[in-house]
Symmetry: C2
Subunit: 797 residues, 2 copies
């Protein structure tokens, strides 16, 4: 048990660490050489093309203007200067709504902190049972300020219960206002936006196979019959996952080629670089690297061409999925919200995600397997949450010093050094766990992908929710009740429904100091590390050294990243949970939460303005999750307080608390029915008014041409990036596309020809992408390594 002094020391250390990070950041960011690491967003949005500052040789790399060093903390006021509406235009609604989570945290916890500290500390301190108990129990000063200090059967518990009611009411009030705000921001965002292709597009899955008809014919005849006034055509989807693999391989090879080419160009006097052709470049024949990679890439290109032709010609590679185009938002809205077919598992329509947001690979998953996939993944996530310690313990039992010496005997002398030995003995067992926690979000993302969601935004939301459950069980409950999650599960199964909150409730006050330290390490120092961007900084400079030839390459080497929703939102929700649970129990924890929210708000505001570049825009689709998790935190806190008080024998006051969870739940149900449809559906009123407005302002808009290749499958775009090399491919493609029928339905042929034309004159960017002013399109399979393709369109001309 830590005392107040211990916590003070810990706080000091963490504050110093954070300050060190901030100082490093402040110094690094004003160096021109790092400009693309700390301000990539401005390069992407076109606000900057080269570092500001002096133009002499040294000045290109190091900041020589010493005045700027004096104002090195001025990023903080700068971050606050941009208004919310400017942020929406600059970075999108997702980012703006993400920042609102932090302001919500501040709004909730500042008054709660003040009230709790002012009222509860005197109430708890003056009761003073623990002063007399000191010798029997190991208690800290902090416990004297918490509810533990109140003697059993005290009437003072009425104060705690009253405050729980008050805080619940205050939080519900803010949640309601905020849900309302975000919902109207979402609708205003849709209304203010210019035309967006996804407003006219509906994705249909599980198209039935009618023998003697192609998928395309089936789709056209079905929707021409059932949506005769609004349906104008569709775009087919191909199973090009194998082709995508080839594209990824080609890119890897191209990187190596660039690397060797650059190496040779810089030192043309040295002998040409060589490479081994065998396993991992270690074995096999030694050959000239540049020639070798050129040849391999050429072979791969031939393979890709034939694979692409196979995909286009083979009717089996046409998936039973299509993007339907409508001539009005109203028509698309109707089609997305209604059931089409007698058999409710066929012709499943839903809103199309925006083109950048589509996760193409999952469109190939047949619908029947989705239920099974969901079930299997749910079982796996459950196992992962409750049994993850088993494989790790196994690995830990292997990864000891004896094992290491046996595998690598040459290390024996090093290992036997006393200093290193003790370090390793302390370090190795934890390593497996560290690695596991590091790759956990990736693992959860892969699980979500297996579940078969077709939009990146949905994938991230589902990953976030899995991660949240992991944190809730393993960080929150796992810290309160010692023992592995599996042991907890076992205990819970063998305890009664009334005993569980009691078991947890009792231990809560004792863990306050642990969570204070947790908030400082994970929250304060972690956030300060986020702004430093150490990893992207290193990677950028490495790439700059080995791969960058032109300014365009330098653009490719930038990695702006984006808000990591699957990781950040669950951590945030954990802080809400901690704050709400401890508000009444140990109010001393609250200031730590407030500092976290304020500091993180500043940092993320800065990052969103200057660094991050969102890959997609879901228009704050994650808000219902944020809302309902905070409600869940409220109910958890009420149940735990109930459990805690029932051990305090406060029989007079405790029953007062029973009704509160029910009321909170009713509030939740009301909010859900009031606001959630705004996040799931697109009201017809809205669609119609936009349609009418557009008809009056742009009476001769050709909507077919506008939609022509919005959801064109990436397979048709892949080659256009490498213009110089692939003229023959393009000719070939032209023929192929002329031979195979155009993907749009027959009455869209004018637009299809438009699209051909448009593509072959090599406009750098399809015109409709001007509708996404804030960020470049990334047409490609959404693998980080491919994001660079997207830039070409923007950066090149």
């Amino acid at each position: 048990m830590a005392t107040l002094a211990d916590i003070g020391v810990s706080a000091l250390i963490n504050i110093l660490t954070s300050f060190a990070f901030l100082l490093a950041f402040a110094l690094l960011r004003i160096q021109p050489i790092n400009d693309r690491v700390y301000f990539p967003k401005w390069y992407i949005s076109g606000g900057r093309s080269s570092p500001r500052g002096t133009r002499n040789f040294v000045g290109k790399f190091v900041n020589l203007n010493f005045k700027t060093y004096l104002t090195f903390l001025n990023w903080m006021p700068q971050a606050l200067r941009m208004s919310e509406s400017e942020i929406i235009t600059h970075a999108g609604l997702d980012s703006a709504a993400f920042l609102r989570i932090y302001t919500l945290g501040i709004k909730i916890f500042v008054p709660v902190t003040v009230v709790a500290l002012l009222i509860l500390i005197p109430v708890n301190v003056s009761s003073g049972t623990l002063f007399f108990l000191r010798k029997e129990l190991v208690v800290s000063n902090i416990d004297k300020l918490s509810i533990s200090n109140v003697p059993p059967k005290s009437t003072r518990f009425f104060v705690h219960i009253g405050l729980e009611y008050l805080f619940t009411a205050w939080i519900c009030f803010l949640l309601y206002k905020e849900y309302d705000n975000v919902a109207s921001m979402r609708l205003a965002f849709f209304a203010s936006q210019r035309r967006r292709v996804e407003q006219f597009t509906v994705v249909v899955r599980n198209i039935p196979h009618i023998s003697g008809h192609s998928i395309s014919e089936t789709v056209d005849s079905f929707f021409q019959t059932n949506h005769p006034n609004h349906y104008i055509g569709h775009q087919g989807v191909y199973n090009a996952n194998k082709f995508a693999k080839l594209v990824r391989r080609r890119e890897r090879l191209q990187n190596w080629l660039d690397y060797y080419q650059l190496k040779f160009d810089r030192h043309p006097d040295k002998k040409r670089p060589t490479v081994n052709t065998g396993f991992l470049g270690l074995l096999g024949r030694k050959v000239d690297a540049i020639e070798y990679y050129k040849q391999v890439i050429k072979d791969l290109d031939t393979l890709m061409i034939s694979e692409r032709q196979r995909v286009i010609k083979d009717s089996k590679s046409v998936l039973p999925v299509a993007f339907l185009s409508f001539d009005s938002r109203w028509g698309a809205s109707v089609c997305a919200q209604t059931q089409q077919s007698k058999n409710p598992t066929l012709w499943l329509t839903d809103w199309a995600p925006e083109p950048r947001d589509v996760y193409w690979r999952n469109l190939a998953i047949p619908f029947v397997s989705l239920t099974i996939r969901k079930f299997v993944i749910t079982a796996l996530v459950f196992a992962l949450i409750f049994f993850y310690m088993i494989p790790i313990a196994f690995v830990q039992s292997l990864a000891n010093l004896e094992g290491l010496e046996r595998v690598a005997p040459f290390l024996r002398t090093v290992i036997e050094l006393k200093f290193i030995k003790s370090f390793l003995q302390g370090f190795l067992p934890g390593l497996a766990l560290k690695i596991f926690l590091y790759i956990l979000p990736t693992v959860l993302m892969i699980m979500s992908k297996i579940e078969g969601y077709i939009a990146l935004s949905t994938l991230e939301r589902k990953t976030a929710s899995k991660y949240y459950y992991f944190m809730l069980v393993n960080v929150f409950l796992g810290s309160i009740i010692t023992g592995t999650a599996f042991e907890q599960l076992h205990a819970f199964l063998h305890q009664s429904a009334t005993q569980i909150p009691r078991t947890i409730g009792v231990s809560i006050p004792m863990k306050a100091t642990f969570f204070m330290t947790y908030i400082m390490v994970d929250g304060w120092a972690g956030i300060a590390g986020e702004i430093l961007r150490l990893k992207p900084l290193v990677i950028y400079h490495l790439k700059n050294m080995f791969l960058v030839k032109t300014d365009r390459d330098r653009g490719k080497a930038m990695d702006p990243g984006s808000v990591d929703f699957p990781e950040t939102i669950p951590s945030l929700q954990l802080y809400f949970l901690l704050g709400i649970v401890y508000a009444v129990v140990t109010p001393l924890l609250l200031p730590f939460i407030v500092v976290f929210f304020a500091f993180a708000y500043l940092v993320y505001r800065h990052q969103i303005i200057n660094v991050y570049n969102q890959q997609y825009e879901s228009a704050a689709a994650f808000w219902p999750h944020v809302h309902s998790r905070i409600i869940a935190s409220l109910i958890i806190s009420q149940l735990l307080l109930l459990g805690l008080l029932s051990t305090k024998k406060a029989a007079k006051s405790t029953p007062l608390l029973v009704i509160l969870p029910a009321l909170t739940y009713v509030f939740h149900v009301y909010c859900r029915s009031r606001f959630e449809p705004a996040f799931r559906k697109y009201p017809l009123e809205e669609a119609m008014s936009k349609d009418l407005l557009e008809k009056s302002t742009e009476p001769d808009l050709n909507i077919k041409a506008y939609l022509a290749d919005a959801y064109l499958h990436p397979i048709f775009r892949s080659f256009e990036v490498e213009e110089e090399e692939l003229v023959e491919v393009r000719v070939d493609k032209h023929e192929t596309r002329a031979a195979s029928p155009p993907l749009m339905s027959e009455h869209s042929s004018p637009s299809a020809s438009h699209h051909h034309h448009h593509h072959h004159i090599e406009e750098p960017s399809p015109p409709h992408y001007n509708d996404y002013p804030t960020s470049p399109p990334s047409y490609y399979y959404h693998e980080p390594s491919h994001l660079h393709y997207g830039y070409h369109y923007q950066v090149e001309p």
Copy 2:
């Protein structure tokens, strides 16, 4: 504990009772005087207008054809003769689907019974632990045939687990097939039906109030904007609940008038009947009854006219609810399935129930209160299920002999008789409980009405679901674990999640004999009582004696009743639960279940063909509930078996069972996504093909005229029944409707005038009701006493 012989005696008694009922029924039904009690459906459908049989005076009342007495059991083969499709035409899809629940029961339990008896009885008997334990435990022969007889740690439990898997697979297979069948029957029913008004009608609730505009204007402008191609008009809804009360009062008075009139007419020589005007006809001045009632009714008519005018003129009595008419099924389908407004609590659209099915009174409930109402009722139902014993125990403590003597001293001498005293002492305490159980369905129906559902079919489904929970907790669990439901609840809250199934599982085999008796009393004899129709028989003859003047009155006196879904479906589900739970535990219970299903199937088939007259048609909307409750029974049975086996220390075999509930649940989720939309939504494909078909066969159908007064509020119909008396009212009504704007939107004025016309030439039945060939419309407030109004249209001409 009952032995096999005890059960045999009990079975004999119940079989004899049932036979006595059947015999009574067989004799009563062939008496012409009872013809309208046992064959009302044929009178309503027009198949009969007077009893068959000889035409002499005695023959009108008693069957003199003695040959028919010899074939008195021929109703059984007769009941089986009608095919399912004929039943659908004759009695509607609801009735046909209801019968399918029984065939499903037979299909499930006949093979299960055979397999379980053949395999399990030898397995259980030959283990024979209980033979040695006889002196320690009180066991019966039946226990020797059950799982209790298998010694702990036996490997024989693999047989039980294997059978549980086999039965689950078999039941899921049948459930899937049956869901598929019923879903396609539903769609075929919609497709085969001629035009139905509800296919073109959507109900919209929570219309916002826009100042300066009437509700009607707001509705028209909103839907003309947002559904421009299909919306053709709407019908407003009035808050006429007060008026409806007057109508009910008038009817009561009319009944009295008829009674006295008839009394006087039969004996015109006696002096005219008199009545007291005061409290309950006991106090006050004595006046001539006929004159008095005529005067009161006349006064009431004046009051009703002014109240009706107030309702029509007062804009406040127009409710924010309307029935929207569309020119096509497609348009209505789109409007019903989409979200209309930015604010998801406004402009809530949904399918309109069919006109007979609307529960008008609840249309007046404002939407905001619905969440609260649902919450309050849920809490009340919970309390009712778990604490209903408290008020009953209180009443019981009051209702003893001393209390009775104090209230009614004049009974003292009677009560003090020994025989009567002991009878009352045994009877009185149970009386409160009996009364409670008798009125329970009514109470639950009132609760559902308070929840605010606007269709009778929904109300009945919700009542059924409440009743099911009551039965599950108080009949099933309450019989297995002794003690009140409240004590159980307390025990469950203080037991761990793994302990609960164990506690219940252990007691299950011991309660088999109790449930066998229950099935015989409630199932066998109860069903035999159902076919006898004792209550309607008595009431019909009483009415016939005192009120009936004309044949038309005799038609009114008939009470065909209908399948009592809120009570029958939950009982059925209880039998499924019992059968599934005991299939593996005590297979000897299964034959009782099979007999119940077979017998009940025969009885209900007979009743549906000859007696019941459904008030509405929901097209088997209850099937998803039937399906999911059987799935719930499966999961309950698996968990209880798991609990039972875990007390048997069958550690080797028990883990095999853990996966089964999860698999069952996955099956349920799949079925829900596969079939449930067919019961909630109307696919556009279906709507469009019906529209196109209709357009080609009836190109000049006037759909506006067709829909004109389909959902006319009952307030406009109320007077037309009493043609002769109310000419002046009709004139007044004409003026009123000309003065207040017609309810249809302006571009429906031709149809509105058609509608006026149509009403004032007093056609006996609106033409579109011919679309319901099987049953007469009951336009009125759905109170049983008003159903007679409906007949007028059919019976009169």
